[in-house]
């Protein structure tokens, strides 16, 4: 009886407690973000949060074309190596200072030297050549320069010159999170939340809002990102009204949530795709292209995706690296994708002189999809007489082991959607796998040596075909992740972008 009274009393207290302000967005995240210094890391969650604080010189519009954002425009020299940009006037930082060319030059210089994607642009120098004029000098013409400058994930966001110069190669400390965005840093409470608050002195871009480009309106006073690691809890938290938005809901719950009136489903516009890298540096696969082709012939991606994702609406067995409708979409080379032909694989393996040497497949259990894909592949390859030995470790161990060429022959990972092929990890010579053939280098020179879209598309088409011929990596297929939101939340986008943003959102 007493217990009942106590419970009732607490329940009453719960009902009487003040309602959470309608001015706070409560976003249930899958985990906690590492440093929010966007220049230094590529964690998706860190970018999702930090894009509200830190801004880039260009921003992608709804059609993924980069538009001037913190700059008003640029002029480019004929050889494409010198770019002069004009910085937008009157933009305020969170610390009250006004953005000028020195801030832009310092931020770009630090990013080029230490940033996670800093080497992409091959920036020789970034100098303030006037109060509001910045001159970039590139080592080579780079057709993707605007997209690279617009990409927030590991990209060149703009900080005040003094902060960025003091930080140099260190991640910027939380107390120095100063940007120009519509939200400023509030606090980080380990295991509890990351909170951003509306920046009252925000200077919006005058252009009309379009994707991430144009004006950004902060309707919420506070954005709170709360780690809720269990997916079931993220779902019931939204149902119960404790969260407004929850990310990464698993495929097996799709049937449950899609018809629930208490939930809006936001399928991602940005498919992620599983990748199985092959070791081009050492081991049985290093130079044996035929053996790689045997492996490719054995794989049935549809089966792997059915096991790892399940829900047919949430995956596509698609060999193209960019989805249909994207300017980079091409089917070149994809005949080799999803063959699932063990007999052909057996013949190819024989021709390749394969003697049954175990092939080490490095995979982690942290990502269920990686492990499921690897298990299915191991079975399929066994059917073709190819002996795969799974090396199962946790993600932190995998990240370390894959840097050592002698430890693996293949490893599983995944890749997020990117605006330009130049950001694909497999095209990076130093990424584990170390694909560095002459054919690749020749095509890469063509690809980055022009800013003409048609020429770049043609070069990319050949690059994708080359990937399917030399097989430095095997694409598993597209996974459409999805998020959920409470029915009251309105967002400026219908389907979830790669990094969902909440300026323009309200409830």
């Amino acid at each position: 009886m007493k217990l009942g009274k106590l419970l009732g009393g607490i329940a009453l207290a719960a009902l009487m407690a003040a309602p959470v302000s309608a001015q706070t967005l409560r976003y249930a995240t899958i985990g906690e973000p590492p440093s929010l210094d966007s220049q230094m890391g590529t964690a998706t969650l860190a970018s999702t949060i930090s894009q509200h604080m830190f801004e880039t010189l260009y921003a992608f519009d709804a059609a993924f074309a980069p538009q001037p954002y913190l700059v008003t425009g640029e002029t480019i020299s004929d050889d494409g190596k010198t770019i002069v940009m004009t910085v937008r006037e009157g933009v305020k930082f969170h610390n009250g200072d006004t953005l000028d060319a020195a801030d832009v030059a310092a931020s770009l210089s630090r990013w080029a030297e230490h940033g996670a994607r800093g080497k992409l642009l091959e920036l020789t120098s970034a100098e303030a050549t006037g109060d509001m004029e910045v001159t970039l000098t590139l080592a080579e013409r780079n057709g993707a320069w605007k997209s690279i400058l617009a990409y927030v994930n590991g990209g060149p966001v703009i900080y005040p010159a003094e902060i960025v110069s003091a930080a140099a190669g260190e991640p910027i400390a939380a107390e120095n999170y100063v940007g120009t965005g519509p939200y400023e840093f509030g606090e980080v409470r380990p295991n509890r939340y990351v909170e951003l608050t509306r920046f009252e002195g925000y200077t919006p871009n005058p252009a009309e809002s379009d994707g991430e480009a144009g004006t950004r309106v902060a309707n919420f006073e506070t954005l709170r990102f709360i780690p809720v690691p269990d997916v079931g809890t993220r779902v019931s938290g939204v149902q119960a009204g404790d969260y407004d938005y929850a990310e990464y809901i698993s495929g097996d719950l799709y049937g449950l949530v899609k018809d629930d009136p208490a939930i809006q489903v936001k399928i991602s516009t940005a498919p992620i795709f599983g990748l199985m890298f092959m070791n081009s540096d050492s081991g049985p696969l290093a130079t044996n292209t035929k053996l790689r082709q045997a492996i490719m012939a054995a794989l049935n991606m549809e089966q792997a995706l059915q096991v790892s994702v399940g829900e047919p609406e949430l995956f596509e067995a698609d060999g193209a690296f960019f989805p249909e409708g994207n300017v980079w979409h091409t089917e070149a080379g994809t005949d080799a994708y999803n063959q699932g032909d063990p007999e052909k694989a057996r013949v190819l393996a024989e021709e390749a002189g394969y003697d049954g040497t175990p092939i080490k497949l490095l995979v982690s259990t942290n990502y269920k999809a990686h492990f499921d894909d690897a298990s299915v592949f191991t079975r399929q390859l066994a059917d073709a007489g190819i002996n795969v030995q799974m090396v199962v470790v946790d993600w932190a161990t995998l990240l370390q082991l894959r840097g050592q060429p002698s430890e693996w022959d293949m490893f599983m990972t995944h890749h997020g959607s990117i605006p330009d092929p130049v950001l694909l990890t497999v095209l990076n010579d130093s990424y584990p796998g170390w694909w560095q053939t002459d054919e690749k280098h020749a095509l890469m020179d063509r690809f980055t040596g022009t800013s003409d879209l048609a020429e770049r598309q043609a070069a990319w088409e050949e690059l994708q075909a080359l990937i399917y011929e030399q097989l430095p990596v095997v694409k598993v297929g597209n996974i459409l992740s999805y998020d959920i939101a409470s029915p009251d939340l309105t967002t400026p986008w219908e389907r979830a972008p790669a990094f969902p943003h909440f300026w323009g959102a309200s409830k």
């Binding site: 400390a173 295991n191 404790d242």
Partner: protein
């Protein structure tokens, strides 16, 4: 008594030193590198080497241990690699949740496990006993995460009586009313533990009830209720109380599943996440504190024997 306490404290300190070495060695022996986790997928070997160097991860493990142990003696457990905040702050954030959760859970366990255990023992062999033992078996066997998810579904998503997850501190807006966030998790966590205490109380009561002095007490014509409370329960509690101590310590260190399901910022989840991130200072700091806690509770349990049973000599 005084000498006993001093001797036990000395032994506890030796245990602590040994434990700190073992913790440090194990954590550094497992492969994986926090730098890779921090820098992400696209990090170049140069960036990795530079960050390792700045964070002092290139020093020999023995040197790293001595530096850490020296600082720990001065109360400085270092800086979390992942959060870039002092480890003591990370632990403080987790400790409030874990301790309050454990305390509330203990209330459920004591309020349910002990009286129901006594009832089952008194009614040994009856339908009541069998029913209660069956219930205990059920509670002990059902996984905590399943109980947790159903509690959320029914009482949070369905009835809306309690919040589904999370826990804002009682020192923040909302004050003590924030304890309502811990009701569902504590019930989920209490279920298997209350069942164990129930079974332990019952078994212990039945053991004591077979003693000669109980038969003598009954033969003397002492009222049955008095026999149960004074003669049986008091002696049976000895085993139960020592179980309380370890249950409490276990509730703090092993509540990982409950903390994950209810998204609670507790110590258990912190340590598991830190292991996945290879956040060495946090793992070391938290485990060190947990070892200390076990040592203190162990000592307290031993001392409490003396209070409960004057026959126990502490030597």
């Amino acid at each position: 008594m005084g000498r006993y306490v001093i001797r036990r404290t000395g032994a506890a300190i030796m245990t602590l030193i040994a434990a700190s070495i073992v913790i440090f060695a194990f954590i550094h022996l497992i492969p994986g590198d926090p730098v890779y986790v921090m820098l992400g997928d696209g990090a170049t070997p140069e960036q990795v080497a530079a960050l390792r160097d700045r964070m002092g991860l290139d020093e020999p493990v023995v040197v790293q241990y001595l530096i850490w142990a020296g600082n720990a003696l001065q109360g400085d457990l270092g800086q979390s690699i992942f959060f870039d905040t002092p480890v003591t702050q990370v632990i403080r954030e987790g400790a409030e949740t874990s301790i309050l959760l454990a305390l509330i859970t203990m209330v459920w366990i004591v309020a349910f496990g002990v009286p129901v255990g006594i009832l089952a023992a008194i009614r040994q062999g009856t339908v009541i006993d069998q029913g209660l033992s069956g219930l205990a078996m059920l509670l002990a066997s059902v996984p905590t995460f399943w109980v947790g998810l159903y509690l959320i579904l029914i009482f949070a998503a369905g009835l809306g009586w309690f919040p589904s997850s999370g826990y804002p501190s009682i020192f923040e807006e909302g004050g003590l009313a924030n304890l309502r966030y811990l009701i569902l998790p504590s019930l989920a966590l209490a279920a298997p533990n209350a069942a164990l205490i129930l079974r332990l109380t019952r078994a212990s009561m039945l053991d004591v009830a077979r003693e000669d002095y109980v038969r003598t007490a009954r033969a003397k014509g002492i009222a049955p209720s008095r026999v149960v409370l004074r003669h049986i329960l008091r002696n049976a509690l000895l085993a139960v109380v020592s179980a309380f101590g370890f249950t409490f310590a276990a509730l703090i260190s092993e509540a990982v599943v409950t903390e994950t399901v209810f998204a609670l910022p507790g110590v258990g989840r912190t340590v598991v996440q830190s292991i996945l991130r290879r956040d060495y200072p946090v793992i070391q700091g938290v485990i060190l504190i947990i070892v200390c806690m076990y040592l203190v509770i162990n000592l307290a349990v031993d001392l409490s024997y003396r209070l409960l049973d004057p026959r126990v000599e502490l030597e």
